[in-house]
């Protein structure tokens, strides 16, 4: 009994310590004055994290949009409401599926890569040697990756939604024969810039923040061994994905609840 309490206490202290360490890392990384050298580093990471994630995001978006179109059509057509298919597809994508599915894919594709990269840098003393060359790894390694992730993910989520909506229209209009004018104009009438597009953007920004933070923290504080890095990579994907889903619930309550 006492042992258990002790263990819970130890765990919570560990947890708070880790949170503190992670917070410190973030603060140190974020408060660096940007210069053009830094912007170039961010640009490079936008390529690594954002551009290289594009294929998986676009392909996934296309399939999800088409499935959504087909399922939606089958339900709506039995009420004779297939004209609303556009609205249904667009709203579910912009509000939920776009940000969430993109975040999950991003955690798997870019988050894991970040953790492994930073973890290996640490394990091979590259980070140590950088420190001894008076180059702050928080500013040189962590900060550009952080900003690149936070900048790219909302764009990726938006592109995901766009191609998925197109996939939905492909099924609904080109295959099932809904009137194309109806599909698009009903959609346009019901999608609200603030309620749908802006809120979706907020969601994906928050998700991106959490994913890159978790990924970089796990990489930077990974045990310097092969097993340590593989464990950290797994932890990044699992923790980031769960946090995204939980945060989505909270944000949805705040925005639409």
């Amino acid at each position: 009994m006492i042992n258990q309490i002790q263990r819970i206490g130890e765990r919570s202290i560990n947890f708070v310590t880790r949170l503190g360490v992670a917070g410190l890392m973030l603060v140190n990384a974020l408060f660096s004055q940007p210069n053009w050298k830094f912007l170039r580093l961010v640009g490079l990471q936008v390529y690594n994290l954002g551009v290289l994630s594009l294929p998986i995001i676009l392909v996934a978006g296309l399939f999800i949009g088409m499935v959504l179109g087909l399922q939606g059509y089958n339900v709506l057509v039995s009420y004779g409401a297939e004209q609303s298919l556009g609205t249904m597809v667009a709203l579910s994508l912009l509000r939920e599926l776009g940000p969430v599915v993109t975040a999950l894919l991003f955690a798997g594709r870019a988050g894991s890569a970040l953790t492994a990269e930073v973890g290996l840098m640490k394990a091979t003393e590259q980070i140590s040697s950088m420190e001894m060359m008076a180059v702050d790894p928080f500013k040189r390694i962590i900060a550009p990756r952080f900003w690149a992730g936070v900048l790219s993910m909302p764009v990726l989520a938006f592109m995901f939604s766009m191609i998925a909506i197109w996939g939905g229209s492909f099924v609904g209009v080109d295959w099932k024969g809904i009137d194309s004018g109806g599909f698009w104009s009903v959609m346009q009438a019901s999608v609200d810039i603030h309620q749908d597009i802006f809120y979706g953007f907020i969601k994906s920004t928050v998700f991106a923040f959490v994913i890159v933070w978790v990924a970089l923290y796990n990489g930077y504080y990974a045990k310097p061994s092969s097993a340590g890095i593989s464990e950290a990579t797994t932890r990044t994907v699992v923790n980031a994905s769960l946090m995204v889903l939980a945060l989505d619930f909270i944000l949805t309550i705040l925005m639409y609840g």
Partner: protein, 264 residues
């Protein structure tokens, strides 16, 4: 002549194992100081303590009179600009070429134009005999070559204090001779202060102005190279002549092997 690094009553432990117990050690400005000691005694750890990458549990470490241990982050990075550390593992950036590895600290800290930078990097590479390898990736180097590139990188900013962790490991007799001369030349021409950690006792004693021998958590002997060579302390005699049995244990602390076997 002043002391560039002063270690005062410093203690440090890794997990349960105490590595240093009230260590006092000075590194004289402009001199080459050698630190010798058996493997695993904490020589690399000592260099990292001086570089502020580890914090002692008590005591203090001063670099040019300023405390490394209590320095704020920004202050510490200012001090590190004046230090160079050759890592035991080399720690090159594998995704960069040899040239870019050596150029890295220069690009980070100076505004040199590209031609000047190129000349400087090539000079550094020439001094370690690897100018011809500048376009190789760091992953394409042999162990000994990698360490020489790391040496070129560590000296790129002409630091005040150069710390060499095993500079001769993996070097053939020729490059060893070149490196010895390089370390001495750097020290004389640029007025650097050098700390050399090495197991190649005879070679190090050739260039060192002052020598510390570490064992058992403290300094067991110190003095000029000649003083160390003529010192008759049995621990020192064993270490310098490389004898397996003697007062200095070769084994990492453990219970008796025969007893362990018998217990099974």
């Amino acid at each position: 002549m002043g002391q560039l690094v002063q270690i005062r009553d410093m203690s440090f432990a890794r997990e349960q194992r105490i590595l240093f117990d009230n260590l006092n050690l000075d590194i004289a400005q402009g001199k080459i100081t050698a630190i010798l000691g058996p493997s695993g005694i904490g020589k690399t750890t000592l260099l990292k303590l001086i570089g502020g990458q580890l914090t002692p549990s008590s005591g203090d470490i001063l670099f040019s009179g300023e405390s490394v241990c209590r320095a704020k982050r920004a202050q510490l990075y200012q001090m590190r600009r004046k230090m160079g550390l050759l890592f035991q593992s080399g720690a090159l950036f594998p995704e960069l070429t040899v040239f870019e590895n050596v150029a890295f600290p220069l690009r980070e800290h100076t505004q040199l134009t590209e031609p000047v930078l190129q000349t400087l990097v090539r000079m550094k590479l020439e001094s370690v005999g690897l100018r011809g390898a500048e376009q190789l990736m760091a992953t394409e180097l042999s162990g000994g070559m990698g360490r020489r590139v790391a040496l070129a990188r560590a000296t790129a900013l002409d630091p005040e204090l150069m710390m060499y962790d095993e500079p001769f490991a993996g070097q053939d007799p020729i490059s060893m001779g070149v490196l010895l001369k390089l370390i001495r030349d750097l020290n004389q021409s640029l007025g650097l202060t050098s700390i050399v950690v090495s197991h190649d006792v005879t070679e190090v004693l050739e260039i060192a102005d002052y020598v510390y021998v570490l064992a058992d958590k403290t300094i067991i002997a110190q003095g000029t190279a000649d003083g160390i060579k003529s010192n008759q302390d049995p621990r020192l005699v064993q270490f310098i002549n490389g004898l397996p049995n003697g007062p200095v244990p070769f084994h990492y602390p453990a219970s008796d092997f025969l007893k362990d076997l018998a217990a099974q």
